[in-house]
């Protein structure tokens, strides 16, 4: 009882805070409609700063930056929106448009088709989506098991057993998806290049050889870190080091 009261209190507080943020969001949307993208972007950023996020928020922010020709910021916002809603059609479309404006055309390394399918399948849902699936299937398995134990009828038992088995399998798959989407995406692995052009070095040292140059808006995967230097990998498999301040984590 005591617990429930605390919970309700927390929720009401949350609602109070988010009410203000919601007002700001509404205001920003209004500014966007009036094509005042600079102001709208500032307001969206304000909402983000206050600690809120949503797919629509990132999406609208990305749109503002796109209109302001700030392509790397747009790409970053769309990527963040996509992380929350991997299957949002608008987000994917605008992200694609923004990526077309990126100078570097990086051809992704071809992958084995089943790995590609598998990754595409896992990217189908956000971490929350997979979490819900995992819980639902866990319940399914539990209920199936209980029914199996409770009822003597062979048909009911067989049915319950199949339900439990399928649920356990699906739960395992959801668990993998959850892990992939949540922990992997969360551990700061991807970033967007923000400076207009960066020379990627062969070692975490300003004096080392320039390997190649990338430009703003390129998405890189971070594989290692030494001091203020990040080891990055491009979609085409190129690897090098660049200063951490040149990029922003998704």
């Amino acid at each position: 009882m005591k617990l429930a009261v605390t919970f309700l209190f927390l929720i009401s507080c949350e609602a109070g805070f988010s009410q203000e943020a919601r007002l700001q969001l509404n205001q920003a949307n209004q500014l966007y409609r009036e094509a005042q993208y600079q102001k709208a972007a500032q307001l969206y950023e304000q909402v983000l700063k206050n600690g809120y996020e949503s797919t629509a928020l990132y999406y609208n922010l990305g749109n503002c930056y796109f209109k302001l020709e700030n392509i790397p910021a747009a790409v970053l916002a769309y990527e963040r929106a996509k992380r929350l809603s991997p299957r949002d059609d608008d987000v994917s479309y605008n992200l694609r448009l923004a990526n077309l404006r990126v100078v570097d055309k990086i051809e992704p390394l071809p992958q084995l088709f089943f790995i590609e399918w598998w990754n595409g399948f896992l990217a189908w849902f956000s971490s929350d989506g997979w979490a819900i699936f995992a819980i639902v299937f866990l319940w399914g398995a539990g209920v199936g098991g209980a029914v199996f134990l409770l009822f003597r009828s062979a048909i009911v038992q067989r049915l319950a057993f199949s339900v439990a088995l399928v649920s356990v399998l699906c739960c395992a798959i959801s668990g993998i998806g959850l892990y992939q989407q949540h922990y992997r995406a969360r551990s700061d692995r991807s970033a967007i290049v923000f400076s207009p052009s960066v020379s990627v070095k062969s070692a975490p040292d300003a004096q080392s050889t320039d390997l190649f140059v990338i430009h703003e808006g390129v998405r890189v995967e971070i594989t290692d870190q030494v001091g203020d230097w990040k080891k990055v990998r491009l979609a085409d498999g190129k690897i090098g080091w660049l200063p951490a301040e040149e990029i922003q984590l998704i």
């Binding site: 949350e14 988010s18 943020a21 919601r22 969001l25 509404n26 949307n29 966007y32 409609r33 909402v47 983000l48 600690g51 809120y52 996020e53 949503s54 797919t55 629509a56 928020l57 999406y59 609208n60 749109n63 796109f66 209109k67 020709e69 608008d90 479309y93 605008n94 694609r96 448009l97 923004a98 077309l100 404006r101 100078v103 055309k105 051809e107 956000s126 971490s127 929350d128 997979w130 979490a131 819900i132 819980i135 866990l138 319940w139 398995a141 539990g142 209920v143 098991g145 209980a146 134990l149 409770l150 959850l178 989407q181 949540h182 400076s195 207009p196 052009s197 020379s199 140059v213 430009h215």
Partner: protein, 610 residues
């Protein structure tokens, strides 16, 4: 056709009074003459067929000129002469021929009809030689042979070099001088030296040849400089400087038969009593030794520059915007093979587009030395914003005076590029057709209806609620199992338990029975088998042991679909056991049979009741 003929036959009328020719008036003569009997290959000469004394000849047929090319002709000319009141005339047909090949050729007779007679010319022999034609061929100029010999000593051409040993790429100057003790009215270069192996630059010489005096072999000559060339050897070894050849018109005194005092007096060229004779003069080839540049310690940036140079480099601005060009100028000045200088290796960051340099030269020839500057103008267009660095680039040359390589380097430049207003040009490569179509499209409009927000970084996955929800089914399931167990115990679901354990119990009892069988304890064996069977059936059918009877068992088994055969077997086995227990007559063979039968029966019933 007719007009062409009239055009070809140009008629020249000349009126010449000559008494000596009067005898020819009545007897026409038809002769062939050439302007020279000896020609070189490719040289042109003239052949004239003339009919003297009359113009009434017709049907002129020229001989076939098979060994020669007809450059022009026939050109017809007529001349009229008034001699002592009577008119004599002549007609001539003229051809300009060109020799084709070396050898001695005969031009056949030409024919013409005159007064019903056919007149013929004599055949003409032409000698075609290989080399230069001999000007003395003309019959009138027979005396020129020794004239040439005479000129030979007094007119020659020399090529002089200022150095005989040079390094590859070092400048040397070749001067072509004419030495003369005869007068020359005009000259022209007939063969300009090709100077292979050198890169050459003509140095200026005064247009009006200035003469100076020089003594060669005890003779005083007037010497004029005709040509001066700065040469830069392109390869090492012994190189030959080609001879130069000039055609000059040498003034020689016209010869008179008489040795008259007056004639001798007037033989001075001042009185114009001179004749121009064409004469060819050529210089001797000269060799020069070219040393290769040292192969050791060649510095970076060396590209064949030899001489003495300095380098300046500058950017026209240090700040620019994207897509606004910046000019980098590199000026190399000094003396040496300036025109062979190659553009220095200017390296720019990949974000700057660099065009090939525009090269402009400012070259002067100071005291026969090629000097000046060469400027390379690089157009740089930064394509992206940022701080760009243009690395220092090297330039090296071989210093002729110090005989070693000198390396110099440009300063490094920094260029700050701001984002221009222009939209960056998009690279067309790497975009598919579909992509290009998409480029023209606008982004999709905002999402204004969705105002839901959540705490940043707060996802359902990994939240306490998630863990509670995912743990709850597992906890519930485990709890459920405990609940079921406890309920079984509390409610004493003996029937269910007995059913599940029936077979195990029976097997345990049969194992016990087997022990007795081996120990040959008949009574205990039969008791155990009987108990196993009774127990099994009781457990399976859920009948308490007190209610068990053969009839009840038979009935309930048959009602559950167990074949009557098995039921009969079961009852008989039980009966046998009962019987044997109380009459110890049976043997071990019988015991064994019953044991196996019991196992079989249990298996059959287990199959049926499941």
């Amino acid at each position: 056709m007719r007009s062409r003929t009239t055009r070809l036959f140009t008629i020249n009328t000349a009126i010449i009074a000559l008494s000596a020719w009067s005898a020819l008036a009545q007897n026409p003569s038809f002769t062939a003459s050439v302007d020279k009997n000896s020609v070189s290959v490719g040289e042109q000469f003239e052949i004239t067929f003339s009919l003297g004394g009359t113009t009434a000849g017709n049907n002129f047929t020229a001989p076939p000129f098979t060994d020669f090319l007809v450059a022009s002709g026939p050109n017809q000319s007529t001349s009229m002469q008034f001699v002592n009141g009577s008119i004599t005339s002549s007609i001539s047909y003229n051809y300009l021929l060109q020799s084709k090949a070396e050898g001695k050729f005969t031009i056949g007779p030409a024919t013409i009809d005159y007064g019903g007679k056919k007149l013929q010319t004599q055949p003409t022999i032409i000698e075609v030689t290989k080399g230069a034609p001999k000007p003395k061929a003309q019959a009138q100029q027979q005396g020129d042979a020794d004239l040439d010999r005479q000129i030979g000593d007094n007119l020659f051409l020399r090529a002089k070099l200022d150095k005989s040993r040079v390094y590859q790429g070092e400048q040397l100057t070749a001067t072509y001088k004419i030495y003369m003790r005869v007068n020359i009215s005009t000259y022209n270069l007939s063969k300009v030296p090709s100077l292979t192996g050198f890169w050459s630059e003509d140095l200026e010489v005064p247009k009006q040849v200035q003469l100076s005096a020089e003594v060669v072999n005890g003779k005083q000559y007037r010497v004029g400089i005709l040509k001066k060339v700065a040469l830069f050897p392109q390869r090492s070894g012994t190189l030959q400087i080609d001879p130069m050849e000039i055609d000059c018109a040498v003034q020689v005194q016209a010869r008179r038969r008489s040795n008259d005092f007056f004639d001798q007096f007037f033989n001075d060229p001042f009185f114009g009593n001179v004749r121009n004779v064409n004469h060819k003069v050529r210089s001797e080839p000269v060799a020069v030794t070219v040393l290769p540049l040292p192969a050791a310690n060649v510095p970076r940036g060396f590209n064949g520059a030899v001489g003495k140079f300095s380098m300046e480099a500058w950017l026209d601005k240090r700040q620019t915007k994207t897509n606004e060009p910046v000019t980098l100028k590199v000026k190399i000045s000094g003396h040496g093979n300036l025109k062979l200088l190659q553009s220095p290796p200017v390296e720019v960051p990949p974000d700057i587009e660099r065009y090939d340099p525009k090269i402009s030269d400012n070259i002067t020839h100071q005291q026969d030395e090629v000097a000046g500057s060469r400027t390379f103008e690089y157009l740089l267009i930064p394509r992206h914003a940022g701080e760009m660095k243009i690395q220092s680039f090297p330039f090296a040359f071989f210093d002729i005076e110090k005989k070693r390589y000198v390396a110099i380097a440009s300063p490094a430049f920094s260029l700050s590029v701001e984002k221009g207003t222009e939209v960056a040009t998009l690279p067309a490569s790497g975009l598919s057709k579909e992509d290009i179509k998409l480029l023209g499209e606008d982004i999709r409009f905002m999402k204004s209806d969705d105002l839901s927000l959540r705490r940043k970084g707060e996802t359902f996955a990994g939240s306490p609620l998630f863990f509670v929800l995912s743990a709850s089914p597992i906890v519930s399931f485990v709890g459920f199992i405990f609940f079921v167990k406890r309920r079984e115990k509390v409610l004493g679901d003996v029937v269910g338990l007995r059913n599940r354990k029936a077979r195990k119990m029976a097997q345990r009892r049969l194992r016990e029975a087997k022990k007795f069988l081996q120990q040959k304890k008949e009574e205990q064996f039969y008791a155990e088998v009987s108990r196993a069977l009774w127990g099994y059936i009781g457990d399976k059918l859920g009948i308490p042991p007190s209610d068990l009877s053969i009839d009840l068992v038979r009935m309930s088994l048959e009602s559950r679909g167990v074949p009557s055969e098995a039921v009969v077997k079961l009852t008989s086995a039980i009966e046998q056991c009962e019987f044997a227990r109380f009459s110890p007559l049976s043997n071990s063979l019988q015991m064994d049979g019953i044991y196996h039968e019991a196992i079989e029966i249990i298996a059959v019933i287990e199959d049926q009741l499941g």
